[in-house]
Symmetry: C2
Subunit: 241 residues, 2 copies
DNA sequence: TAGTGGTCTAGACCACCGC
DNA sequence: CGGTGGTCTAGACCACTAC
């Protein structure tokens, strides 16, 4: 890379991309240690400082983590709640993060509504995949959500693939479709439960639900998922970290 | 700083602290340009790269901003909604951020409740300052909040000071009490309006409100403010950015 | 002790800005 | 054109980890 063709992006950005490609190709798996900064520098024909700057960014994006004296490692791909920077946590005391168990209700082809098409940057009526789920915490139903994905990016997605993956959607997007969620945006509202939601969540119609509308973005701010969740916050809070 | 006493923190961290002190002392004001990286390096007797690393952190913390070819500048201190990473925004269409107008209802001395004392890391019953406000958006009441501050950090705080400052609390903490909010954590719930809240917000008792419990932290994760807001999300959403 | 990440330096060149 | 931030290098030393 010493004297490559007229440089467009900075070297460390190019190194970062090469590292991401190597990661996606499976060269290093979860919790594997990467070659040392000097070895990577030799491989990419740049200086150690340049590799370090690329690694810095991947660490802040939580793709890698470092341990002084040991090395640089591949981070576990975070599940969808973590990736959003949010977790469902006990409202009083218990700060431990509890595991969310999703149950798939629906997975079907559909066409983008007005709201979804704007959020995903596709034309209205464009083919999308529609997913409906129920989310349990310690066996108790406590949220439901509708997920809408652009059809072109998620071509072969079906119920079987989702169930196989145990319901961790963002990991599925990444591993099977090569779509890595980098950032999310959310809008939050308090809404009275409609009859459908009340029935599914086992609450009275009209009781307050936390309604979260989320758009997930991959690299270069490309929107890749629209999602609306209804959460019963009687026992738990939706918390930022 | 070349050969200072046995080094505890890295040089760039020390430089960062010196820069923050200079900022708090008013050496440079909002949108002022700082000396160049080389001038700062000479002043602190470190290399330009070390100054740059200190500036990098202050830029990511939004204390400074840079313009290539021009210089490094002092950022405007963000108001409390921005600093939290949240803004109240129109739910449909209009993405422009609207200005929140706070109205002070109460400012009094009180004692820390159990919940507040845990969040602020003070003993139960410790002296605190209690503030109650009404928040308007375009003249319409749309939220209320209770703010609790540790009494030792905010000794002379009273209604007059809050009103003088136009209600921007985080800027007041910073400018008058030297407390710079760096990070916040929030827990969100949907709750039925109690009679007090319903009356103040002009909604029916029991109608859904978004309840946000926030703890704000200064440097070194020191908690400096506890706050609970009730938000009417009929017309607007509480949105992350 | 050897190898890793973490810090720091001095100097170079580039891209952008304003005169 | 000179001055600024932005990138890149080569080499040094430190702190931590493992053996």
């Amino acid at each position: 890379m010493k004297h490559a063709a007229p440089r467009r992006a900075p070297l460390y950005q190019q190194v970062k991309i090469l590292l991401l490609e190597a990661l996606e190709s499976g060269e290093w798996l979860q919790n594997d240690v990467l070659p040392s900064e000097f070895e990577l520098a030799a491989r990419f024909e740049v200086s150690q400082g340049t590799v370090r700057k690329a690694l810095d960014e991947l660490v802040t994006e939580r793709v890698l983590y470092r341990r002084q004296g040991k090395g640089t490692f591949v981070a576990a791909y975070l599940d969808e709640w973590d990736r959003a920077g949010f977790v469902l946590s006990g409202f009083n005391r218990t700060q431990e993060v509890e595991k969310v168990q999703p149950e798939l209700l629906t997975c079907m082809r559909a066409n983008a509504s007005e709201e979804v098409s704007e959020a995903l940057g596709v034309r209205r009526g464009a083919p999308v995949v529609f997913v409906k789920r129920l989310l349990r915490l310690n066996g108790r139903v406590m949220a439901m959500d509708d997920v809408v994905l652009p059809g072109d990016l998620f071509d072969g997605l079906d119920s079987r693939k989702i169930r196989q993956n145990g319901g961790a959607l963002y990991e599925l997007y990444h591993r099977v479709f090569g779509v890595r969620v980098v950032r999310t945006r959310e809008q939050l509202r308090a809404e009275p439960a409609a009859s459908d939601e009340a029935r599914l969540l086992g609450v009275d119609k009209g009781s307050p639900l936390l309604c979260v509308t989320r758009v997930a973005y991959a690299a270069e701010d490309k929107p890749v998922e629209w999602r609306r969740s209804w959460i019963n916050t009687e026992q738990h809070a939706y918390s930022s970290t």
